[in-house]
Symmetry: C4
């Protein structure tokens, strides 16, 4: 009986270990998502442009609301995909930890390009710069995310044996597409930055359903 | 014995899965609640209006303290109701995850209308705009929350069999009332925005006790 | 065997319930503690007073560092005492939840008086106002904290039977002292606000060791 | 069977206790890491220097991006080392709790010197001051971290018996090096602050791999 309790202890301990890495990671995701709202300026009655009335001020900020919503959904999708990836890893090593910190760094940085996008989206001259800065951050995240998957799944083979080679390849392809799509939105900014923004929305619609499907599939793999 | 440990592992794994979604969700709630304080300006000795003395500056900010307290209690109520809803779901699917992200987005956005309400509450000309912006955000949250419940409880029937049809209907009605009450405060703003603010306080008093009762009831349902 | 797994499930479920309330609460404490740093102005090279050089700017902000450290330790002490109180509760009810939200509200508000204290501590004219605002917030927290204990421990008797009446009384007295000490620092501000600040530091030294002892004692009570 | 459930309860309770301290700690780490992005100014179209165009504004902020990345990796390393230290403690006492709060205080303070470093890195006159402020904060953290280890591992001997004396000594040396390295970067600032910055990067490269190795080793020690 003592040994059974010991086993339970070990299970809890292991649970706690993984739990702490995930707690740190989830914390960064949740905070980054909530910090996005800080990029939205709160108009005050003593602002120089306040004479036009609060209604105009609130409406004039629509690009900031749009950028907030865009990035909030991005963080949600990214968090879910990160969740799926780690649910397939059965062990962790130095390289995984280091690459994980790298991906989290880009997530924590996201409030900056989001604030820039919200502030310059209505600016005809510099909209393209804001779009490239935004898409560049997400592309950098995507590259780090793919490096993490390549290292964990192919280099050190840390994925669960319950994940078949076919399923693993499907995940590789799904995640590889991301950075290329963001590179495409950067290219589109050379024509018209509004096309890039339409691209961001399309990428979301494209990723939302597969991501939700991946979450469900990951649960199925684990319960085999 | 191995199989018993395996079962414990599965229980922990499942616990961890639900735990991660909740950790992300709780993080957003707790963080949004704490960020509300950032909407309150900290007066500094070198501010243009500092000559009147700190006492006047601190007192002049009463609308910001009021808006902070109002939104803090709102987040608390909303968090408790979200907790109750998810305690009745026995499984999750893509639609639930997507609608959940939508509700969290409005929670994360709340510091913005709270800051606006605090800054413009004492402004006779634009108080109504601030009130409509605030009530509109909460109404949008309420609609998303009701969509989530309708989808989870009626469309994909993800609620626990331990929850009776009668209890489910009671929850549906309780949550359906919310957006209508906020629509009413928007209508009241056309007469006098101060009536809307009285309305916000009344909605709180109206929801505080039932919410606390729901939390206790949800625990009873689960322990059946 | 199925029933054993079921029992484990119930234990996990209960664990998860308490866990969510604590996750929300711990989140608010941890965020409030970290947000305190945002009250410290970051000097920039294009600030009007930057000509004096960064060294003078950094040194001139010592009151902000002091207020940050004072509040950080306060949040730590308050968090530990909250932890001790809840470790003695074996069940929760509506009143406990509502009063808990009230105490968390004052914790989340703390960055505001901390920023005010840091900005006005070196201001001879208005130092007393900043001190009263700061001490008032902590006194309000203390009153809410005592109400929560009185309600939970005496009104609805939610404390563990393993906590003896003598131990319960000792806790009541320990916590009752807090608001009176802060009231005293408010009174001292009428003489000289620097006495109040010395009082804040003394209260810390007074609470640090008993709090640490309470944490250890609470663990002993639970393991009986 | 009842007793077995009771044991499971105790295990969960103990798990929960440690969990709460870690939740608070992880919250502060994750939050401090994410707050680092707030030190980066978001350029707006109505800024006085906006006429030069967004591209120049975004590029001109490279020192802020560098300081952000430097501190983000620092928080990651520090968090992993803190994790390793606490995984070797099998019990906690007052002194450990108090010293833990002290280390967390420096972590929570880090966004301030990071913001200062990012704002003044390109300033030839005051770069050294920013570097000393930054290195000083990390040195202070390092001293508190070493005090915590010395107190826990040698004074009250709270480390696991599974950790050999040789392993304990190796950890002591690894952690003792940190503050001396930061003292060295402060000395280098007297010659040229750019040398100190190269030093920060070198310290990272020096600590990254051993830290990742420590994390893996700590897991091995625990599973003995």
């Amino acid at each position: 009986m003592a040994s059974r309790t010991a086993q339970a202890e070990v299970a809890l301990e292991r649970h706690r270990d993984v739990g702490r890495v995930e707690a740190f990671s989830d914390g960064v995701f949740a905070f980054a998502a909530t910090l996005l709202a800080l990029g939205i300026r709160i108009p005050r009655p003593d602002d120089p442009d306040a004479s036009s009335g609060l209604r105009d001020l609130v409406i004039a900020q629509w690009p900031s609301y749009f950028a907030f919503a865009l990035s909030f959904v991005t963080v949600g999708i990214v968090w879910a995909n990160d969740h799926v990836m780690f649910s397939h890893f059965v062990r962790t090593d130095r390289g995984i930890v280091l690459l994980k910190v790298l991906t989290l760094m880009f997530v924590a940085f996201l409030p900056v390009p989001t604030g820039v996008l919200g502030s310059w989206l209505a600016n005809d001259r510099d909209r393209a710069v804001a779009v490239v800065f935004y898409a560049g951050t997400l592309m950098a995240f995507g590259i780090a995310h793919n490096l993490l998957w390549w290292y964990g799944a192919y280099r050190v083979r840390a994925t669960s044996p319950r994940l078949s080679a076919r399923e693993r390849r499907a995940l590789t392809i799904t995640w590889l597409v991301g950075p290329f799509l963001y590179a495409l939105t950067i290219a589109l900014a050379a024509i018209d930055a509004r096309l890039s923004i339409a691209g961001f929305v399309l990428i979301h619609l494209l990723y939302l359903l597969p991501t939700a499907r991946l979450v469900v599939a990951a649960q199925r793999v684990r319960s085999r």
